[in-house]
Amino acid sequence: MNHSILSGRSISKYFGGLQALSMVDFDVENGIIFSIIGPNGAGKTTLFNLISGFDRNYEGEVIFEDEVISHIPPHTITIKGVARTFQNVRLFKNLTVLENVAVGCHGWVSPRYTRAIFGLRTSRREERSIEGFAREMLAYVGLEGKDNDEVESLALGEQKLLEIARALAAKPRLLLLDEPGAGLNDREMDNLQEIIFKTKEQKITQIVVEHNMKLIMSISDQIMVLNFGTKIAEGDPQNILNNEKVIEVYLGKEKDLA
């Protein structure tokens, strides 16, 4: 009954002679937490870059809410309802914490020169509504009171949360989280998990790329496993944990590390 919010059809991507993704198909049901796991270099971030429009030079199709978005530039994809975070935190260091989140509102505000120049009242109202919403998003991830701090004064864990707040400020219906747990301590990890669940309750679909299996197993409704650009398994967490192929190429190795 739940129909899919995002689908990939026969997606292939080459970097020179290297095949980063090979005929990958997937469907993400509306409202779920969909995780993508796999060894480094499996093509996870590449897939994120294709979905968010950063890389439009690939074969196959990405379909968001029944519309092919494969050749649409990234800002338009965001405006259509897909927001993302980055594996290596990419905040705007020349803006304050609150301003970073305010930038996230850009898509639905679409500010104009004429309004800034002539519409004193409208632009004030616009600023107030942006500020209000940005504060709300900061509180949502637990960063209230840090409004005027400099981004670089935040701990890494807080910076990751700020990225999530910034992405949520775009009012997305699909949120792409690229390794949100990397570099977080246990307490921050619990906090992150709570935010992800809270976001699910908001009916925002989430696709998560992550290495931390504990987090993946507790949050995911559906997991897709990539290895060398090929989908080798897909299913619910139990299903994936018991999949021999997955154990062989990915989980086994993780267990050795543990």
Partner: protein, 307 residues
């Protein structure tokens, strides 16, 4: 006005008060030129200080504004306001066309490409079609609705009114969503795009907007001097814009006014050391960039803890 703009308030007070105290001063002329070049820097700050896009072709845009107004009033007898509007229009149009291919470039590639544009304009205005090296003379004084701004004092107030209006407009652009999106583009274009910001459009708007202010400045320049020639529009002008901006403080909008003031008043104080002008400016530039990356406004604000 917020307390963080205390420096701006001081500038306004000084500018408004100066002719009242020294009505016949030779400095009125100097300050008119400070205002004209300051006006370019105000727009330039949105492009470079906020949006992070360098242009070394603003001498070309300034020239187009000046020549368009000069030609329209002197050769075709247009009224001032119409000529200025025409100058703004054609400058913005050319900036837009030039911006399409060049604004895709980044960093020093952008600097070199825009510099190329500046050279083209300079070469064109040196041709006989635009008056050759002697330029265009006999430009009538600026008059609006029958009132002629033919005295230094009236022109001074006209120029600075335009400057301060532009400062207010740029501050409003800079301190609202548009300014934030420019700063976002400045730091990380991909991250900005993922926030729904149209990066190409943001750069283009800042470029065309700064071109409009350069065109207004060009018109004011042409009307004031009554003569214009190509020597006023060479690459040194763009270099000096950079100097003014960083001297005053990039990203502050009005910092460039202080930078322009210093650059224009410096020769007046140098006397027989005039030949060292460029050397001193270069030295000032280096010192500012090394010790005061926020420029004089940034340094003063830090000193006064305004921000």
């Amino acid at each position: 006005m917020h307390s963080k703009h205390a420096i701006l308030v001081i500038i306004v007070a000084a500018v408004v008060g100066f002719p009242l105290v020294f009505p016949e001063s030779y400095w009125l002329t100097v300050l008119i030129y400070v205002g004209i070049y300051g006006l370019i820097v105000v727009g330039y700050d949105l492009l470079l200080g906020y949006c992070g896009q360098i242009s070394l072709g603003h001498n070309g845009l300034f020239a187009i504004g000046a020549y368009a107004t000069a030609i329209a009033t002197t050769w075709f007898g247009w009224v001032s306001l119409l000529a200025i509007a025409g100058g703004i229009f054609i400058t913005c149009l050319i900036a837009y066309i030039v911006g399409i291919p060049t604004l895709r470039l980044r960093g020093y590639y952008l600097a070199i490409a825009t510099m190329g544009f500046g050279f083209i304009v300079e070469a064109l205005i040196r041709t006989q079609y635009f008056g050759g090296s002697s330029g265009i003379s006999g430009i009538p004084p600026l008059s609006i609705l029958g009132y002629s701004f033919d005295s230094d004092r009236s022109y001074y107030y006209l120029v600075w009114t335009v400057v301060f209006l532009s400062v207010i407009v740029c501050l409003r652009i800079g301190e609202t969503a548009l300014g934030r999106s420019m700063k976002a583009v400045h730091t990380d274009e991909e991250a900005a795009a993922s926030m729904g910001i149209n990066v190409a459009k943001t750069k283009m708007q800042a470029f065309v907007f700064s071109a409009a202010l350069a065109a207004i400045a060009g018109s004011l320049y042409a009307h004031y001097g009554t003569v214009i020639n190509p020597n006023s529009f060479n690459i040194m002008l763009s270099v000096k814009l950079l100097l003014m901006l960083f001297l005053g403080g990039a990203g502050s909008i009005y910092g460039g006014l202080i930078g322009a003031f210093i650059l224009f008043s410096l020769p007046e104080f140098l006397g027989h050391l005039e030949r060292l002008e460029l050397a001193l400016e270069g030295l000032a530039f280096m010192i500012i960039l090394i010790f005061l990356p926020g420029g004089l406004v940034g340094g003063l604000n830090k000193l006064l803890k305004l921000r």
